[in-house]
Amino acid sequence: MPQTLLARDPQDVVDAVTAAGANGRTLEIRGTGSLTALGRPVVADTVLDLSALSGITLYEPEELVLSARCGTPRRDIEDMLAQSGQMLAFEPADLAPLFGGAARAGSLGGLVATNLAGPRRISAGAVRDHTLGLKAVSGRGELFKSGGRVVKNVTGYDLPRLFAGAFGTLGVATEITLKVLPRPETQETVRLEGLSPEAAAAAMSAALGSSCEVSGAAYAPAPVAARLPGCPDTATVLLRLEGFGPSVRARRDMLARVLIPFGPCTVMRETPSAALWSAVRDVAPFVGTPERALWRLSTAPMAGPALAARLCATLDAEAFCDWGGGLIWLALPGPRSEADTVRTALAASGGHATLLRATAEERARTAVFQPLDEPLAALTARVKSSFDPAGLLNRGRMHEGW
């Protein structure tokens, strides 16, 4: 077991990284540890625990901004925002239960590092679209800041966004500033049933390409659909509308007209709709199956449903799509990742595939993140090196060797 150091303030982080650098020892950066099984396994000399680096440092609801230390539990942030009728608009997925952990156990740092936006990604953007400011310690042990607390800011390179999805490989974020938004007054879901993958893609495209402002568009084929709350045991397209009451009702009627060519639709009211989208967001259909390797694919939305269907047929897998078809959650029957098959199939429509859940051995053996072509691979390595030249931080988490 590697030694664990508990950082209490940013200076502790600076000291820990500086010492690690001087001693040639690597560090695993950890918040609450709820997603340590996501990414390649890190074999580090020391664990740097940030869970005590916690607390909301600024929240001004009327300015739509919140800052917190990276170890702050997401639960605390979401609860505080809810009190003011606000939210994290990127709808962060809570994947801890997928790895057998408790719900809402993650921290702000992990949430940003993994960039796992939920269904609202298609309308509100990714985690990185809401990351305004950052304080972090680089692999040099230097505490630096970037960005700010205002949305409109182009002063220097946008490092807060770069840190979103960097899995702690560039630096140890100590404090993060996020843009927050008003929570929609209400929501409804419009449901279509019995659609083929191609028809589902077309239906979601028609809905998202209409002026109905759809904020969630998912497709679940038969066996998976039944595992989503309130859904029937048949291929189902789900389209979410959010906003002010009068607007949601008007758009529901507009959407029903747009969807006429795809068959009759059913409307799910606020409460069932909310439960449904939590399940989509948190990949609920594949919770409780820890032995099954799970992929997360991002591709051109129109290609997604058919690609998912092909992979399911080839690999005897199960899948459902979010993001209008552009995000595929693919659960294989067993622990084998079948990376070549998955990535070869993806290549035609472009995008990337991440082996989201698998055994440590499988994740060590396989490229968990999409392999990069040259010269992008070399460029990416240089960028990592510009923050962490000695490769101290989460070495190997994203790519073998660094």
Partner: protein, 540 residues
Amino acid sequence: MGDAGARPHGGPQESTAATAEESAEESAEESAQQRMHDGSHDGSRLVMPAPDAAVLARRDQIVADLARLVGADSVIAHERAMRPYESDALTAHRQLPLVVVLPATTDEVAAVLKYCHDNAIRVVPRGAGTSLSGGALPLADAVLLGMAKFTRIREIDTANRCAVVEPGVTNLGITKAVEHLGFYYAPDPSSQIACTIGGNVAENSGGVHCLKYGLTTNNVLGVELALITGEIVRLGGKHLDAGGLDLLSVIIGSEGLLGVVTEVTVRLLKKPDTARAVLVGFPTSESAGDCVAQIIAAGIIPAGIEMMDKDAIAAAEAFVNVGYPLDVEALLIIELDGPEAECAHLLDAVTAHAQACGATTLRVSQSEEERLGFWAGRKAAFPAVGRISPDYLCMDGTIPRRQLPFVLARMRELSHRHGLRVANVFHAGDGNLHPLIRYDANAPGELEAAEAFGADILRLCVEVGGVLTGEHGVGIEKRDLMPEMFDAVDLAQQLRLKCAFDDQNLLNPGKVFPTLHRCAEMGRMHVSGGALPFPDLPRF
């Protein structure tokens, strides 16, 4: 380049060899002193990197080589012919380039960049030349790489809600190309008629509708990027997010310092069902500011909220004649969009807030033509100030919205102190200010006074928790103010990222960062070289 053989981004080997004296920031300052000199352009105290005499001496050969790469018709070398390229929309600073090159294909861009990389020649990329921060100011020893020939729309894919365009397509040109299909491209900087998407990517341009729809960074899905080595990388595409490090997020807003964008995939949105704009006049800018705060506090995010002060209203009205009220101190343009039902609902709410805040006039657009008219004045407001003033400097700080009354009051004091008038136009919804400092470049000393006034305004923005630039970019204009916002460590990290893309500092040097630096030095670790005990942290 002093240490060209060393790996640009440093590494463990180098870190042990370095000493404490060679800290990154010290090296940066030292090399900057060696390499910055007072440039030859008039009217400024701006110091630009000293031209490389060896490059200047080889000019004829370079011109001939470039003509071989892209064709003689695409190379402009005559001094008088290059004159129109000596500045962008920031005319306070001017400099003739070494040579102008206008490539037309990605291969030509790659060939020019590789040639420049191989021969250690600097490159300044340029789009439509509408930058207000001097991002495309040439250097005497640099190739000016104009991207204006990249004007094709490569693909319109409404099923996937995106379009693939060349970087020289104008911002408005994208919307024009897809509007017959009911779609549009959301970010709409005021110069959208002329500014190009390549420039938008470089500056992370915003616009009057980014309160609801985001900036360029939130609306670009992918780019094809030529590196200074001539290598081509593709970042993103029709899918969302990155499979590895999200390099697209730093390319957007990198001001031409990291690479040259040769293709852009943008997100398209369906045009809202209805859009209504409301003109609301207030007796004071404070009451207008209150109105904005109330609307947002009520959970309403309008498509746009813009504010103009009396001088700006008068100038804009003179150009568009849409009936802006001329007897108010502050005018808000508030746009609401969505289904008819939503617009009507929000219109009622906004009207109530406006009245509660003491609005003296309120006019709702009754047709699409009228709505566009309301915006036309706002979008032309900067150049329209040219009607009431021969020259202006356009500032671009962002502040936390609630600081608006304080900042406006301080700005009035500063205006008095510097003896120059200022017209105010701003994105009230997101706190992005555009004070237009009016001056006369033909009057001795006025440019200097205007620059000093501008610097004071930006310092004020930082002081209240804001930033130097919201959407125009740092360029040369705000370059020397960067230390107001960032310390040496912050800047050194930014410079190291630059080195990962451009190890010889050839792309747009002298912009954004107040000091030059050598990548080899930046890469070294600032450590004592020996073993260090782990600090006294709780252990498990």
